[in-house]
Symmetry: C2
Subunit: 418 residues, 2 copies
């Protein structure tokens, strides 16, 4: 009878929700974003310590994956496409520099440490994609997602994920021993970028009349469920088209942002997010194996990768040299690596391109960059601004937005009160 | 990579949410409760037809189980314990008659059809427990949960589940070939009843200060998550104590009903319910194997069990002869069998007490009673009332409550508009 496994799931959910919320609130009291507490809750409940939360359990894994989709859908709902397009050239520059530098630095460092070309390429590639979940959530916690800096990070991270998927297919071909085809690379790129464009263009034509019809049904809950189903549908389509599910969920939010039904959909999504999203972040934390971090050799390679990974992404913030906002904030927000980095590491491990020690080193990099970013961002936001770089009248510089941080404009702005 | 199975899950969720909501709304337009549409959505997507929704998939199973917990928690939140206690003697009578008659009739019919004692006992036992989920949801859809009739059904179904669990342990012992111990039976009974009493008494002392403290945290979402975690915790405790998880979730709702934080918790739970609850009902529908229903012998036994099952429970509605409300409504609302009936059938199958044909017959009974109840209830509510039996001034007879049905008092009152 599956009764036993269900009561185990209940125990995991109770422990996870209570610990994540408690530590999340504690984090805020200490001036950190709530997400730090949720990550630590995962580490505590994960295999290294309590051993209750197993992120590879199929049900927990499904909840966590749905959590990141709900999060990206929420973020899309709050994102004005026009303000993303306005910072398009800055975002593209940050994305490209933020892929090129970490890849080159990672490959270089790995080669210097004596790795052969293929493992060195996998290490470099694992450093390329920013984890949009961590950055966006932290910027939201800090009330900074709606600033020009926040929009650049959001745009760059989305583009970044697209580039990361392209690199993944290229590296996959290389590791598999096959010759690279320029056609295949072009196709992967075109599909990923084409998907977002097609979804937004078609969506803006087809979706408003659809949701106007749904709103007429007048049964409470219908709009919220319809919005969620739409987000899952686009996630599915994005995945079928060869792109990432999170890009689909984000596009769904972008499309619904302009509809009059947005606030009803938002209300419902926010409540689901309170349940699903902490499961995602706790799962990320639970994947940490504290034991492997104590191995000296793993630590050496890991520290080298962390160093070049942080420097490469931080430098990317200064890529759009013409941008007059706070470049350091952009650079820090680009630091966290997440799922895509772990997918690279896993691919390397299963194909034999990475030893299990190298795998641990890459995983350590992903986790370290994830953990250091929220406190670094909080510190950066609070440190005094260099006046000429942040006061752009009419564009909403950092100082203007500190006041706005307490409003309910952001998906999880609850977390902005320290 | 589990990526494939996750996109499959997304496809299932999109199909389920869209179909369940569409057919739910269609049901309402046809004057039926929304739950009928959700059940039919499950049949369509289930293994008999489309084959997309597999209720035994671990993730779907977990979602469905969480769905029934969220539903019972919602129902508990809306239930005033005082009005339950007020109808306590009526509820207890309905519960006891509603267990005794179907058991006796089921055992008798099975014996007449030539079954030996043990399978006949299992058949009888499978007919004892009313499925609180279906009844409560349908009464809510019809705006009748807050009437004295609705409260009697709710109380009787909860007591029913307790009695069902006791019978389950007794029958389990019999089927296992062991001698019955009066001590063990008494213990199971005491634990199940004791759990609800202890939870409500202790809960009313300990919970209000706890939730007053939680409310002071002032981060949005904390109260909703805390309420949900509390419901899951009591479900877990109930299960550990040898009772059913749904009894724990219902008790949690009863306890929080009296706190000032109730409306915040309710708001969050309702949104989660819109997502989780249809997954439960669609799963119930998806378990139907239309093929087995065509076998003549299975159909014969099934029809006999359905007949005695319906008659036995309907008669139970007339058990509290002194009650002046609409007894037929109570009798009909007690008809649906659900999980507990299926657990009996499954236990019979795995221990060899039931052949697979008998199993199909029992499953058919569970499903038929589940499907006929919502339309029967809708028909009963709309049929003209016998004046002396329903108009009790001050107690809220049926007519008084038709007007109230359109308010937002009920967890899913959205469904009350036909």
């Amino acid at each position: 009878m599956p009764e036993h496994s269900f009561t185990h799931l209940l125990a995991v959910l109770v422990a996870l929700l209570v610990t994540a919320k408690l530590l999340g609130v504690l984090s805020q009291r200490l001036g950190q974003p709530a997400v730090v507490g949720e990550l630590i809750a995962g580490v505590i409940l994960g295999k290294s310590l309590v051993g209750l939360l197993d992120p590879s359990d199929p049900v927990i894994h499904a909840f966590a994956e749905l959590g990141v989709l709900v999060l990206l859908f929420e973020i899309g709902l709050h994102t004005d496409l026009k303000s993303l397009v306005k910072v398009g050239s800055e975002a593209l520059t940050v994305a490209l520099v933020g892929v090129a530098l970490p890849f080159a630095f990672g490959y270089g460092a790995a080669t210097l440490l004596g790795l052969s070309p293929i493992p060195a390429i996998v290490c470099g590639a694992a450093l390329t994609a920013t984890s949009i979940g961590i950055s966006a959530r932290t910027l939201t916690d800090l009330g900074k997602l709606d600033t020009p800096e926040g929009q650049i990070v959001l745009g760059a991270a989305v583009l970044d994920d697209i580039v990361g998927l392209v690199i993944l297919s290229v590296v996959g071909t290389l590791v598999g021993g096959a010759a690279l085809s320029v056609g295949a690379v072009t196709l992967t790129t075109a599909i990923a970028i084409g998907f977002v464009l097609a979804a937004v263009v078609l969506g803006n034509i087809l979706v408003p009349p659809l949701f106007r019809g749904i709103a007429k049904i007048e049964a409470s809950g219908v709009l919220g469920v319809a919005g969620l189903a739409f987000a899952f549908l686009l996630a599915l389509l994005a995945s079928s088209a060869g792109s990432a599910t999170i890009i689909g969920a984000f596009s769904a939010g972008l499309i619904l942002h302009n509809t009059p039904q947005r606030s009803a959909i938002e209300k419902s999504t926010t409540q689901l997010g309170h349940f699903f999203v902490p499961i995602f972040f706790a799962s990320v934390g639970a994947a940490v194996e504290l034991g492997t971090l104590l191995d000296l050799q793993v630590m050496g390679v890991g520290l080298a990768l962390i160093a070049v990974g942080v420097i490469g992404k931080f430098a990317a913030g200064y890529g759009p040299f013409w941008f007059k906002g706070r470049k350091s904030l952009i650079g820090i927000a680009m630091i966290p690596r997440g799922e895509v980095g772990l997918i690279f590491a896993q691919m390397g491990l299963t194909t034999g391109a990475l030893t299990s020690d190298l795998y641990s080193a890459v995983a350590m990099t992903v986790l370290a960059t994830t953990f250091i970013t929220p406190p670094l961002l909080a510190w950066n936001v609070r440190s005094p601004a260099t006046p000429p770089s942040i006061n752009r009248p009419g564009e909403g510089g950092i100082d203007d937005l500190v006041a706005g941080a307490a409003t309910d404009e952001f998906p999880r702005s609850d977390a902005t009160k320290p």
